[in-house]
Symmetry: C2
Subunit: 410 residues, 2 copies
Amino acid sequence: MTEIFGELDHPARLLMGPGPINVHPRVLRAMSVQLLGQFDPEFTTYMNQTMALYRQVFDTANHWTFLIDGTSRAAIEAALVSVLAPGDDVVILNAGRFGLLLSEIADRCGARLHLVEGAWGTVIDPNRVEEVVKHVRPRLVACVHGDTSTTMAQPIAALGEICRRYDALLYVDATATLSGMAAPADAWGADIVTAGLQKCLGGPSGSAPITISDRGAEHIFSRRHVERGLAVTSDAGAGRRIGSNYFDLAMVMDYWSERRLNHHTESAPMLFAARECARVVLEQGLQARFADHALAGKAVTAAAQAMGLEVFGDLSHKMTNVTAIHIPRGVDGDRVRARMCTDFEIEIGTAFGQLAGKVWRIGAMGVNARKHAVLTTFAALEAVLRGEGYSFTAGAGVDAALAVYQEDAA
Amino acid sequence: MTEIFGELDHPARLLMGPGPINVHPRVLRAMSVQLLGQFDPEFTTYMNQTMALYRQVFDTANHWTFLIDGTSRAAIEAALVSVLAPGDDVVILNAGRFGLLLSEIADRCGARLHLVEGAWGTVIDPNRVEEVVKHVRPRLVACVHGDTSTTMAQPIAALGEICRRYDALLYVDATATLSGMAAPADAWGADIVTAGLQKCLGGPSGSAPITISDRGAEHIFSRRHVERGLAVTSDAGAGRRIGSNYFDLAMVMDYWSERRLNHHTESAPMLFAARECARVVLEQGLQARFADHALAGKAVTAAAQAMGLEVFGDLSHKMTNVTAIHIPRGVDGDRVRARMCTDFEIEIGTAFGQLAGKVWRIGAMGVNARKHAVLTTFAALEAVLRGEGYSFTAGAGVDAALAVYQEDAA
């Protein structure tokens, strides 16, 4: 018996978690545009434009700046598997769930892991990284810029210097920060930076921007092995073949090059979405966008503190776009999130691992790094917490957030 | 200097190549719907509905029927890397570019390859496969159902029987046929079947449906290793860990299960697209849809032959939805494609490998498996070939195609 269910018809939620967040209306419209064949000159022009747009978003001169057809995790794996051959040494900064993810993926690449560990809610001292790098002389140093599991933003520039000094490549996962906080690939001295659309870029999950330095690309191309059936002449690099086909960046770069060597079939709606995300961001300007996210983060922090709630982690290194708030004693964190959703159609985030059940995570990013979204969220949170018997001065949260915005406008 | 380019604004092409093809308008609209958080009950309900819809599309009772967040090639790699550990034996049917792709991917999994080769334009005799399977006793037999590079549709059911007899798993790549030709996972005895949206399903590239039998899932789960930071208790399988994180089907299935273990962030627009593709297909009914594709393929073949053009390959095993036509002597195939595009806004396909420059490939699938699309394509092709000095009876192609449709309507 055929069962086809109904049309898409769901509540309009305000997504104030750590991502995904609401998609900018222009990006939604871009995805509904009829597509083109993947080698159509009109389409390859869009591909080239997208490369140019993301060079600006990543603040880089890197030629190799393009998209991975998958979620942000796909780009992380593409970066790691294309650089790391079995037995290669990699130094990984691990102070949160997404640092752990890097180690998990690098481990599956067969790399030898050297972890520099930090407590959740802190960042890692670059001097500690240098000690390890000096000793190990790794192929790659890998770290997360903004780890949403802990809300910490790791300082990166010092790592770039260390990597240059010891001739290591530097990979940075900027999924949760790109276009929300400064993430300048070149100024960092990063060789590969990856992201996703579903955080500060204000798009959906499913396409992952990546940028690669010339020296990063040189290493990856040294491992190039063109697919049988495509290679006209012998085109194999000297290096060890990359362990994945889909994530073989040498082949993906050939596809994004003027050679247009067939690889996957680029997802046109996701390319259209990524292109429009970048256009929205660059029309506003990166600096203005960073300021919006900083202001929203400041307002969220002020509102929480004014309600007597404790903000998690080292505030001097907190990401601007995500804030973790301790669930007060005696309050059922899941019930609060459920009531936020059922009574106000607002989603706030839960937490992973050692923070599960201990904090909520409130994101204000992309199209939601705005005054009304922050104020509405705290108006709702106040009502729900009152209902749960948590004691605080009614109105204090909203007023504190509003004051942050008023001060900024003054 | 900021360069943001213009809005998406490109010609409306009729895409009559081997895919991607035009997206059904309902699917385009579905992608422009605002999204939800990935663990929102409204969203997980959509995920469950999508599983139920694709069970019908794959004509299977398999519980494990879901989506891979990537293009069709991503699902192929997910299937192969999740089944094959280094050193495992795999028998691969190779009679086209996409058979070669299976061997390329399986090779990167570290599997031992045993290829059963066939000439392009033919299918492979199952008896030849049985001889190899009997000798090798492989973990997996892998083949492509419809290989668009050759337009051949490999008979699968006999392979299912062989795999049962010798206790091998059977993987089938049905990217180019699902919902256009019968591709019944259970009747085939296939353990894993994967597809993409951008062919007969009438959607965009970027999401890849997959179905897995219980015995396939059992093998994959035996290799389960839950991510550190997610595993509450020790949850590792006895088998060797899967070589990819993103493509670890054990983790992806945990995400699609009621456990909802966090893995990637499902792309909501691509899920909405996949769901709507299935709804369109099932509303029409699979049999009616197969008939549409068969009729369109018959009309394309008849039109080409009436123009004195030779259709490539073993016609008794030709896919219904893609037809390869020999480029006549003295005609510049690329110029014909270019004029089809610039004068008529119609895209027809080129070819790969040994067929490059020798055939055009005309697809009539998904929303384009329709009379007007076929007739318009041949009206244009006639005009262009006249312009190129190819000699044939004017109107013969269009009339032959129309006659096929009229005969069917009679």
